[in-house]
């Protein structure tokens, strides 16, 4: 021990000697221990002794180092300092050296490597300090006091103070035993403590502002030091070697102490370290509860429980950062919920696509979190260490990182909320509405998402439009199909489901889509046509896509529109071609017009002729076979026979359901058999309407026919004229009057019927037909065609007074018809009677001429000839007179009735507002005979 101590002392002496000497002389002087005065000039013995004693003092005062012995950390710190000073090459060299140095082990190597390194570091620090001080002392006015914090002189004086204090201490303690101290390096602790205490006390006094400085000034000094510290570092970085009064390590470790205090304060305040909190926040953002941050059900969020002792600011910060965790939870919850429902087939393809897209976004998010977690492992440096851009993660840094993911996650959560209950096209539409946003980041994000989400929809549209296939298991598409029979396929088979229509597809586009697919299906099912496939392929080529899958996407609504337009154009054209050419739509329409609407005049006439007598029978005695036979013969004997046999095949007789008391006239009708596919146009209801029109027209014809028949008997002929001659004058007059009245009435009625007939046939039917033809030309698809036909029928119905609003007129008309028919029977009776009389009179020219008949009833038969024969000419005259009178009365009655009804009818014609009957009225009241009559009587006659 003694040996060691002696060795140490020797070494110290030598060191002191060298230091004192070598600072003057570069030549190292021999290490003579107690021979300081060997060759040098100025260091005196006293100085040397003083120095030695001082050295010993210092050495004994600090027994333990202030930092932990860790040579690697020390090397690191040195390296860093070199690097920040801009000497990076030297730092590398140093690293190299250090690695070599530390690898040296065994005898002869330095064991206390840390000590050596620390020594070097400290010496170099102090050296710098010395240099700075010396320069400043030499050139004091050089530097602006303000730039160095304004207190350079203070520092100097401080130093000098400090030195003086130490000297003082030294002086005060010099009477203490040197030897005692010098031999007591390991020595008595109380002495050392005393010494240390004195030293530190001196320091404390220093620190707390003796020499007349107050606390603020002190603080200012400290802060000034700090600022100078920054400046120094900067300046050093710029390559000034010790230009400004700067220290990075103040002599009394003031800054160091302050930082230590701060660190202690932090530790005391926060029970949890920031790193742990950061890690917990990262867990929370993945939906996992951390050690401290847990999901609070009541508050519905991730937060630190109140019990955890951290600063309020940290609480708030953690809460804010965990919003991301809450959003994540929501989105993830939706995804997992949907995935559970997949097997139940509750979630549609669009929903699945949405989930997939969300999961992709979340995987991006996970990547970010993984990177952040890697960084979170690094310790957060305290403020005391130099600022580096090292990869550590504090709460603040985390909040910067989370800015963008927060926006995205919020978007996703909003989407999830709005789409919770939706499916299919509705979901796509809702997301699209959210995508109408100005922020380009949001727009990009939504576009990506929507592309994925809408791809099933677009695929469905494509397959529907190009192939007519509807693969919609989950009912997400906006076209619905229903299983119907072939004839209603067009009208009811497919419809638009507007709830599922996404908002980026307009309704006109949707209509076209619907129609195109419908046409393909129609062609396939009803027309058994395969040519549409070519049309579809052409369409796809024209639109620039293929008939394969997956070419259309969201955001390409234009492409979709053009594809649909092309497909629609071609397929519609194809459909119309098929309708017109293969199924001869036009021809059938024309045939219907000619037969059902009685356009083929000669055929109708003939039919009427031969079917007429049959139809007068009661309905239940008429057999339809017979009628069918009659129809055939009618066809054959008119121009209709040259018509297309296919058309003629379809023409049939139909007996409507009848009650008792109905005559054949009421139940007879023709029908036309329109088969698939034409029965999409000529549906049951359409044919029913045709039937109604037919009935009306048939009735009209019948009336006309009746009148014509009446004329046949009425026209003046030799029979009657001869009869007239033979009659006595009174009777003759009566006869003439009666017949004239009859003829006048007939004429009126004929006028009416003829004009009505004309009106119906030409003004109504022909005009509607020509309009229909025109529209057929310009029709682009079957819907147009259907509309045109509908319009055609409607106009016919309305104009021929069969519509609902013309009910009163209609009834009036039928009343008139009835009257006419009654008249016909009267006229028949009259002329029959005349003929009878006449034949009687000629027959019994020899015998008496009492061929009068009493016609009390209509169906009265001739009385027995016996009655006649018995009477003479007088009786005949009497009979004739009576007969004529009766007939005359009947005719009068009819005439009156007819006139009144007819007037009513006429008066109503101009009042009609929904149809324009002025042509009818013009014709009927051509000479204003009736209106003249009306104004004369001045009464509005009721129908």
């Amino acid at each position: 021990m003694e040996d060691d101590d002696q060795k140490v002392l020797d070494l110290i002496k030598e060191l002191v000697h060298r230091l004192l000497y070598t600072s003057q002389h570069p030549i190292p002087s021999p290490s003579a221990s107690s021979n300081p005065n060997s060759s040098s000039s100025s260091p005196t013995t006293h100085q040397y002794q003083q120095a030695l004693r001082y050295a010993l003092r210092i050495l004994s005062s600090r027994m333990t180092p202030s930092i932990a012995p860790d040579d690697a950390a020390m090397a690191e710190s040195i390296k860093r300092r070199l690097a920040t000073q801009g000497k990076s090459s030297e730092a590398l060299t140093f690293t190299d050296l250090y690695s070599k140095f530390s690898s040296k082990t065994g005898p002869g190597s330095v064991k206390n490597k840390w000590g050596v390194l620390y020594l070097l570091k400290t010496i170099s620090d102090d050296r710098k300090l010395l240099k700075n001080q010396s320069i400043s002392r030499v050139s004091n006015g050089f530097f602006d006091p303000a730039s160095v914090g304004g207190l350079p002189a203070l520092f100097d004086s401080e130093l000098s103070d400090r030195v003086s204090v130490v000297n003082e201490h030294y002086k005060n303690l010099s009477d203490l035993d040197d030897k005692h101290f010098s031999h007591n390096l390991g020595g008595s602790s109380d002495n050392l403590k005393k010494l240390r205490g004195l030293n530190s006390f001196g320091k404390v006094e220093k620190k707390w502002g003796d020499c007349g400085f107050n606390e603020n000034f002190e603080k200012l000094r400290v802060s000034g030091e700090g600022s100078r510290g920054f400046k120094g570092r900067e300046n050093v970085g710029k390559g000034w070697s010790g230009g400004v009064l700067m220290v990075s390590k103040d002599p009394e470790n003031i800054r160091h102490l302050a930082y230590k205090e701060f660190a202690a304060l932090l530790r005391e305040e926060n029970e949890v370290s920031e790193e742990a909190l950061v890690r917990d926040v990262l867990y929370a953002c993945q939906g996992i509860d951390g050690n401290y941050v847990k999901f609070d059900e009541k508050a519905d969020g991730y937060m630190l429980p109140e019990l955890v002792k951290v600063s309020r600011a940290t609480h708030v910060m953690v809460r804010k950062l965990c919003e991301l965790g809450w959003l994540f939870r929501k989105v993830k919850g939706y995804i997992s919920e949907s995935m559970e429902r997949f097997p139940a087939e509750d979630v549609g393809t669009v929903g699945q696509a949405f989930c997939a897209a969300l999961q992709d976004e979340l995987s991006e998010y996970y990547k970010l979190l993984a990177v952040l977690e890697g960084q979170a492992m690094n310790p957060i440096p305290l403020v005391s260490e130099s600022v580096t851009s090292g990869n550590y993660l504090s709460l603040r840094r985390l909040s910067v990182w989370f800015a963008e993911p927060m926006v995205k996650m919020r978007l996703m959560a909003v989407l999830v909320d709005s789409c919770k209950t939706l499916k299919g096209g509705a979901m796509a539409g809702a997301i699209h509405m959210q995508a109408q946003h100005g922020d380009p980041l949001v727009k990009q994000f939504m576009k990506r998402l929507l592309r994925r989400v809408c791809s099933p929809l677009f695929e469905m549209v494509r397959s529907w439009v190009l192939e007519g296939e509807l693969e919609d298991i989950f009912a997400e598409f906006f076209v619905l199909s229903q299983p119907v029979k072939a004839e209603s396929l067009w009208r009811e088979g497919y419809s638009l489901h507007s709830a599922m229509l996404p908002s980026f597809i307009s309704s006109s586009l949707a209509q076209r889509i619907l129609r195109t697919g419908k046409s393909i299906n129609f062609l396939r099912v009803c027309c058994e046509d395969r040519g549409w496939a070519d049309a579809a392929a052409e369409a796809a080529n024209a639109a620039g896509t293929t008939t394969g899958r997956g070419n259309l996407g969201y955001g390409e609504t234009d492409a979709l529109e053009s594809l649909v337009a092309e497909a629609a154009k071609r397929i519609d054209k194809h459909l119309l071609d098929v309708m017109y050419n293969r199924y001869k739509f036009k021809e059938h329409c024309l045939a219907i017009k000619r037969y059902l609407l009685l356009g083929q005049g000669d055929f109708v006439q003939y039919l009427m002729d031969i079917v007429g007598p049959e139809l007068s029978e009661p309905a239940n005695t008429i057999s339809s076979f017979k009628l069918a036979g009659l129809l055939e013969s009618a066809i054959r004997s008119s121009n209709a026979q040259y018509d297309d046999p296919d058309v003629l095949d379809r023409l049939r007789v139909k007996m409507m359901p009848h009650n008792t008391g109905d005559r054949g006239w009421d139940v007879f009708s023709l029908e036309y058999d329109a088969r698939v596919p034409l029965n999409t146009v000529f549906t049951e209801s359409v044919m029913a309407r045709y039937l109604r029109i037919f009935n009306f027209l048939w009735k009209l014809r019948r009336v006309e026919h009746a009148l014509i028949g009446a004329w046949k008997t009425m026209k003046p002929n030799c029979v009657t004229s001869r009869f007239l001659d033979k009659l006595p004058n009174a009777v003759k007059l009566q006869l003439v009057l009666t017949s004239r009245r009859c003829q006048v009435l007939w004429d009126e009625m004929n006028h009416f019927v003829a004009n009505l007939q004309y009106y119906i046939m030409f003004e109504v039917l022909e005009i509607s037909w020509s309009n229909f033809l025109k529209e057929m030309e310009i029709a682009k698809d079957l819907d147009d065609l259907l509309l045109a036909h509908e319009k055609y029928l409607c106009s016919i119905v309305e104009k021929s007074l069969l519509g609902e609003r013309s009910q009163t007129l209609n009834t009036t008309l039928f009343v008139l018809f009835d009257l006419i028919l009654r008249f016909r029977s009267h006229a028949d009776r009259l002329y029959e009677g005349i003929h009878e009389l006449q034949s009687r009179s000629t027959e019994t020219s020899l015998s008496s001429r009492d061929k009068t008949k009493s016609r009390a009833n209509k169906n009265d038969k001739l009385s027995e000839p016996g009655l006649w024969l018995g009477e003479g000419r007088k009786a005949l005259t009497q009979r004739a007179g009576e007969f004529l009178r009766n007939i005359g009365k009947d005719l009068d009655a009819i005439a009156n009735e007819y006139t009144s009804v007819f007037d009513g009818f006429i008066s109503q014609l101009p009042v009609q507002q929904h149809i324009d009957l002025k042509f009818l009225m013009f014709r009927l009241d051509f000479t204003e005979f009736y209106s003249h009559l009306q104004s004369k009587t001045g009464a509005k006659l009721l129908p």
């Binding site: 140490v8 070494l11 110290i12 030598e14 060191l15 002191v16 060298r18 230091l19 004192l20 600072s23 003057q24 190292p28 100025s42 260091p43 120095a51 001082y54 050295a55 210092i58 050495l59 004994s60 180092p65 040195i78 070199l82 000497k87 060299t93 140093f94 050296l97 070599k100 140095f101 040296k104 065994g106 005898p107 002869g108 190597s109 330095v110 064991k111 206390n112 000590g115 050596v116 390194l117 620390y118 070097l120 570091k121 010496i123 170099s124 102090d126 050296r127 710098k128 010396s134 030499v138 000098s160 003086s164 000297n167 003082e168 005060n172 390096l185 004195l198 006390f201 006094e205 003796d210």
Partner: protein, 80 residues
Amino acid sequence: MDPEAARTARESLDLVFHMSNILETGLDRHTLSILIALCEMGLNPEALAAVVKELRWEAIPSLSSSASSLSATPPAPSIP
């Protein structure tokens, strides 16, 4: 000392000397060797550094002309 140890010692000294040059400590090899020896013996490096600093500092003012003024003792603070 065996040559092996001597060589190790020499090499170590060289390395340390090189390092100290990088750090601009201004120490020469001999002084450095003494310091290393003292460190090895267990002295506090901080203290050694302080000694070096103080003695140097003391040495320098002896060079400049104003050294004497500074070496004159300013009024000493009272020590209670």
